[in-house]
Symmetry: C2
Subunit: 336 residues, 2 copies
Amino acid sequence: MNTVNLKQLAKELNLSVSTVSRALRDSWEISTPTKQRVFDLAKKMNFQPNPYASSLRKHRSRTIAVVIPEVANNFFALAIKGIETIAREKGYHVLIYLTNEDCGEEVSVAANLQSGRVDGVILSLSEQTRDVRHLLELQQRNVPLVFFDRVCDSIEAPKVVTNDYESGFVATEHLIKAGCRRIAHLTISMDLSISHKRMKGYTDGLLRYDLPFDEEMVIHCEDDEESIYRKIRALLSSEKRPDGIFASVEKLAVQVYHVCRELGLDIPKDVKVLGFSNLVTASLLNPALTTISQPAYEMGKEAATILFRRLEKKYIVVPDDRVILPARLEVRSSTI
Amino acid sequence: MNTVNLKQLAKELNLSVSTVSRALRDSWEISTPTKQRVFDLAKKMNFQPNPYASSLRKHRSRTIAVVIPEVANNFFALAIKGIETIAREKGYHVLIYLTNEDCGEEVSVAANLQSGRVDGVILSLSEQTRDVRHLLELQQRNVPLVFFDRVCDSIEAPKVVTNDYESGFVATEHLIKAGCRRIAHLTISMDLSISHKRMKGYTDGLLRYDLPFDEEMVIHCEDDEESIYRKIRALLSSEKRPDGIFASVEKLAVQVYHVCRELGLDIPKDVKVLGFSNLVTASLLNPALTTISQPAYEMGKEAATILFRRLEKKYIVVPDDRVILPARLEVRSSTI
């Protein structure tokens, strides 16, 4: 047995025992430079954690949790496949929790995950999440957290995202080049980082091509399906009907198709449609849907890889990593 | 405290203590009539279980597990929604486990669930599952089990299914009435009850209309996507090409569309296509897909309702319930 303990480490570093302890647990409360100092000295002095910390380090549940808003979206279904591919290699179980876009459920799931039920968490925020204390608490409890797609910029944790801003710009530019002059943007909650970035890509796209920004052309679709349907129907029935639609998520593009059919609008003649989507049937739709396809499977794999890197090398600081995997514009008949 | 114990109950019933104990835990090893005798007397004598049993009865995890083969299928995504609706009402968490159609993973998940991690399990079998000892063990460990869709007939447990035989018959009849004389059936593993029943509906449909059964028209699609693609392409490229296709699951119908497009075959002129499916885009495909739609959401709700009934009234015997929720034929342009 070694003889170095927390107290000695703390004395040597001129820090409190509690700070050293939290630094060793990679707590969010401790700054990265301080953690680095603590880890460096711990290594140098050959510090061995106590049995409790050691038992934590063994990650005995051999289970990770994936917390996502829904599964009816092909993006999340594919991301799960990617996560499972890595977890299977590592011999881990994957638990999937759905928040159904409800922050209360996300809070409740996070509380449930604090108990040591899982060794780590991969999460994509619910649409409603504003206050993120439940996630900070999870980190404080030493549960490593990796975000993907809908990430939280205010939490220091690894994040796997796509190039949302550039994709929003490319989508808008594509519609403009296809002849659209009045492009509507259908978005979900503006509390989400992805919504902000896709929307910024949209407004910058308009700006770049000297098209006016019209607030009425931004439709916020954060409610239940029925009211989303009504909003889209109102948009497409109005006198100032758009000639192009950029849907920021899959379900909104599908809803546009349904409404166009009801109203007898021809895609792409009357209105061109483009959506962020990983629909397996995108190319089989009538007409085939032009998409911005995120590398969902790869994003899942990457998020899991980062999480296991953390689980396996606990004392290596993982800073605020951000991995960006680019999405791809797939042009089909709905816009040309 | 009451004074009746297991020994007295056993003596009164002329059964072994172990039999009474297992009966009270609703073990699969004990016949239903015996369980009923034990429960009746236990109630009459005001038998109170011991603290261990009582702690089990409190269901302290307040969590149920849903074990399914995949989520990329809209049937399962909808079923989960139904299960979650009920679980939320009851204040329970839902953990979703994917087996990826792999029996080994199903065994591993079942072992993981024996530990008291969850209060009950809702399960749909993997394609590969033949030996079901892992599920019997789960029941022995007092973890209530409810099957849905892909059920196991040899295990005594509640089952929520659709009318697979009738639906298979109706699907085949519809294709025949639409003019098909050479109908292929694309099926997944014949180890699954649903495959058997849908196939029997198909063969009986042919018989009913005096059409010959041709073994070459039954395509077993249990492998990886690549080989499924090759089989479907071979079928549709052959000289004895079918004029109708009945796909027993969603992904096979989607694959048929892709292959038809590649081969330049016109649906429905060259070949009519019908599939079991809950695709939200079924009506938007080119051409719109005729489906047998299972009441997936309702099946999930029903399975969860039955499970909670078991969790809440532990001493009521739930026999081999089988709830059948009928599917619906939705005729669209792919067959007319």
